[in-house]
C-alpha cells in the first residue's frame, strides 16, 4: 500500500504504558498508510487506542509510563522514530499538526488567542511580531471567525465552543502542515456546529492539499468525509479499506456489528441492535482474537480463543484480521483447523 502518493506510513507500531499495575498495551502492531491530500479515518470505540496511536505519530505519548515499544513511522520518506527530540520539535506544529477534542481546556486560558497563534507562527517561521499578529488575524478570518482583528486579542473563555475549535484549527494550519491529525474534533460540540467544523476542514484540505487523519467514533462522519478507513478494536486494527467498499461490504465481524447497530429508518426491527458485552479492559485483554468473546462466530471457536489473527490483505486495498473473513484462511490453515478441532464453521452467504 506504500506508493508514491504515500505521506505517512505507520508500520507495526506498538505503544505500551508501564505502571505499578502492570503493562497496558494500548496500541499493538498497528499498520496503515495515509495518502497525500486524502482523509484517513481511524474509527473505534472509546479506549480502543486510537488517540494513543495519534500521539505516537507525534511522539507525544504521555511521559511517565508511556513508551513506543515497536515499529516505525515514516513521514515524507523520513523515519520519525529516528529523529532527535529537537528535530521532532521542528516537525510538530510545522509539518504535522494536531487538534484535540476539548477546545476549552486545550487552549491556555491565561493568554489571548492571538498570542497562542503567534507563538506557533514565530516558532517555525522567521517572522517579525507585527507580521505574525497580522498573519494570526488572517488565519482567524480564514477559519471563518467574524471580526478577526478584534477577536485576535480575546481570551478563550470569551468564545463559544465552536469558535474555540476554529481557533485551534487556525493555530494548527498556521504553518501549513502537510498532515493534520484531528482527534475527535467535533465530539464536544453541538451537532449543528459539528458539520460546520468538518466543512471547514474539508475546505482547508482543498486549499492546502494537506492530508487529514480523522480520529472519531462516529461512523456517520466517516461515511461522509473519509477516503480511507481503519477500524480499531482493543489496541489492534480490525480492518482497513477504502471508505465506500468498507461500508458496502464490511469483512470483520466487529465492523459488521457496528454498522448493524446504526439505527436506520425503514427497517422493521423493534429493537436497536447492539454488540453484546463490553469493550475489554486493557489490563485484561482476552487471549486469542481480542474480539472473540463478543463475536457470533468466534465466541466458542477454539482457534479464535487462542490464536490472534494478524492483518492480511485479502483483496487489493483491503486488509482484515479475522480467521473467518472471506479469503483470509490459507488451505494449510483450513486443514490444520480440521485436524485439531474438527468440523470447520461454514462461512455464511451474504445477508
Amino acid at each position: 500500500m506504500v506508493g508514491n502518493g504515500t505521506l505517512l506510513s505507520v508500520e507495526n507500531v506498538s505503544t505500551h504504558f508501564f505502571s505499578e499495575e502492570g503493562v497496558t498495551r494500548a496500541v499493538q502492531d498497528v499498520s496503515f498508510s495515509i495518502q497525500k491530500g486524502k482523509t484517513f479515518a481511524l474509527v473505534g470505540e472509546s479506549g480502543c487506542g486510537k488517540s494513543v496511536t495519534a500521539l505516537s505519530i507525534m511522539r507525544l505519548v504521555p511521559a511517565p509510563g508511556g513508551k513506543i515499544v515497536g515499529g516505525q513511522i515514516v513521514f515524507e520518506g523520513e523515519n520519525l522514530s529516528a529523529l532527535s527530540e529537537k528535530q521532532m520539535r521542528d516537525v510538530r506544529g510545522n509539518k504535522i499538526a494536531m487538534i484535540f477534542q476539548e477546545p476549552m481546556t486545550s487552549l491556555n486560558p491565561v493568554y489571548t488567542v492571538g498570542n497562542q497563534i503567534v507563538e506557533a507562527i514565530r516558532l517555525h517561521q522567521k517572522k517579525s511580531t507585527g507580521r505574525a499578529w497580522a498573519d494570526a488575524a488572517e488565519m482567524l478570518r480564514k477559519v471563518g471567525i467574524a471580526d478577526p482583528d478584534r477577536r485576535v486579542r480575546e481570551y478563550p473563555h470569551q468564545m463559544s465552543g465552536g469558535m474555540r475549535q476554529r481557533v485551534m484549527i487556525a493555530m494548527a494550519v498556521s504553518c501549513e502542515p502537510t498532515l493534520l491529525i484531528a482527534d475527535e474534533p467535533t465530539t464536544a460540540l453541538d451537532v449543528t456546529i459539528q458539520a460546520q467544523i468538518l466543512d471547514l476542514l474539508d475546505e482547508l484540505q482543498k486549499q492546502n492539499g494537506m492530508s487529514i487523519l480523522l480520529i472519531t467514533h462516529d461512523l456517520g462522519v466517516v461515511a461522509e468525509r473519509a477516503d480511507d478507513v481503519a477500524v480499531m478494536y482493543a489496541s489492534r486494527i480490525a480492518e482497513v479499506a477504502d471508505s465506500r467498499p468498507l461500508f458496502a461490504e464490511p469483512l470483520h465481524p466487529y465492523t459488521q456489528g457496528l454498522l448493524k447497530s446504526l439505527p436506520r429508518l425503514g427497517l422493521s426491527d423493534k429493537r436497536l441492535r447492539t454488540i453484546p458485552g463490553t469493550v475489554p479492559e486493557p489490563l485484561h485483554f482476552p487471549g486469542g482474537c481480542k474480539f472473540h468473546p463478543r463475536c457470533p462466530i468466534g465466541f466458542d471457536d477454539k482457534r479464535c480463543q487462542t490464536i490472534e489473527p494478524e492483518l492480511r490483505e485479502v483483496r487489493p486495498g483491503r486488509r482484515v484480521g479475522c480467521w473467518y473473513a472471506p479469503g483470509y484462511e490459507t488451505k494449510e490453515e483450513f486443514k490444520e483447523y480440521e485436524s485439531k478441532y474438527g468440523e470447520h464453521k461454514s462461512v455464511p452467504a451474504e445477508c
Binding site: L60, V91, R92, N94
Partner: protein, 312 residues
Amino acid sequence: MTTYIIRRLLYTIPIVFGVLLLTFVLFTLVGGDISIEIAGKNATPDTIAEIRAEYGLDKPLFLSWDSQFINHFKNAFTFDFGRARDRELVVDKIKRGVGPSLALTVPMFFGVIIISVSLALVIAFVQGSMWDVLAVFICVAGMSIPYLSFILFGQYFLAYKLGLFPVFFSPDLPTAQYVALPVLIGIVSGLGGNLRFYRTVMLDEMRSDYVRTAFAKGLSTRRVLFKHVLKNAMIPIITRVVLAIPFLFLGSLLLERFFGIPGLGYLMIEAIGSRDYFVINAMTYISAILFVVFNVITDICYGLVDPRVSFE
C-alpha cells in the same frame, strides 16, 4: 472594581465581629474573672476591687451600655487594648515587638518562596526521574521531623558546637547576626511542605490539555514550563503566598522563644505562660484583621493574574 473591593470589605465585617465575639467568649466568659490572679496571693479585698475596677471587670457582662460586652467591641475598634499583666500598655509592647519579628519573618518568607518555586520548576522539568522521587522523599522526611527538633538541632549544632552563629539574642548584636541562624532554620524546615505543594501545582498544570497542545505545536519543555505552566500555576501560588503574609507579623513563636528574640512571638509565649489574656486578646484580634484584609488583597491579585475572573 472599586465596588467589588467595597463589597468584599463589607463581607469581612461579620467575620471581624465573629472574631471579637469569639475572643469575648474565650477570654471573658470562659476565662473568667482573673483579677484575683493578677492581685496575687496575699492581696486584700480592696486591692482586688481596685484591680477589677481598673480592668473594667466589675462592669456587668451584657446588659448595659457600659457592659463588658460593648466595651470589648468599642476597645477593639479604637485599638485600645489596655494594659498587660505587668501594667505596660499592650500597644507599646506590640510596637516594640514588630521590628524584631519582621526582621526574622520577612527574610524567611522570601527565602522559602524563591527557593521552593525555583526548585519546583526544576522538578517539573525532571518529572518522573530519580531526582523527582528523591526530592519528594526529602520533602516528606523534612515534613515529618518535628519543628522543635530542627530548631534545637540547629541551635545546638551550628551555634553552640560549631560556633558559626550566636546562640542567643543580645541587644548589642547587629540585627543581621542574630537573625541569620533562625532564618536559616526557618527556611530549611519550611521548604519541605512548600516545595511539595508547589511541585504538586506544577505537575497538575503539566497534565493539562493546554500543555499537550503546546507540545503539539513543537514547543520545548523549557518554553512550556516557563511560559504556559508558570502563569497558570501562579494562581494557586499567589493565593498561598499572599495569605501567608499576615502571619509574618506574628513572628515565629518558637524561633523567637528559642533564640530569645524580643518579637511578637516571644510576647505571645510570655503571655501564654503568664495567662495574660489582654495581650493574647489583642494579638488575636490584630491577626484576624490582617488575615481578612489580605484575603481581599489575594482576591484582587487573583483577578489580576487570571483573565477569567471579572470583578462583577
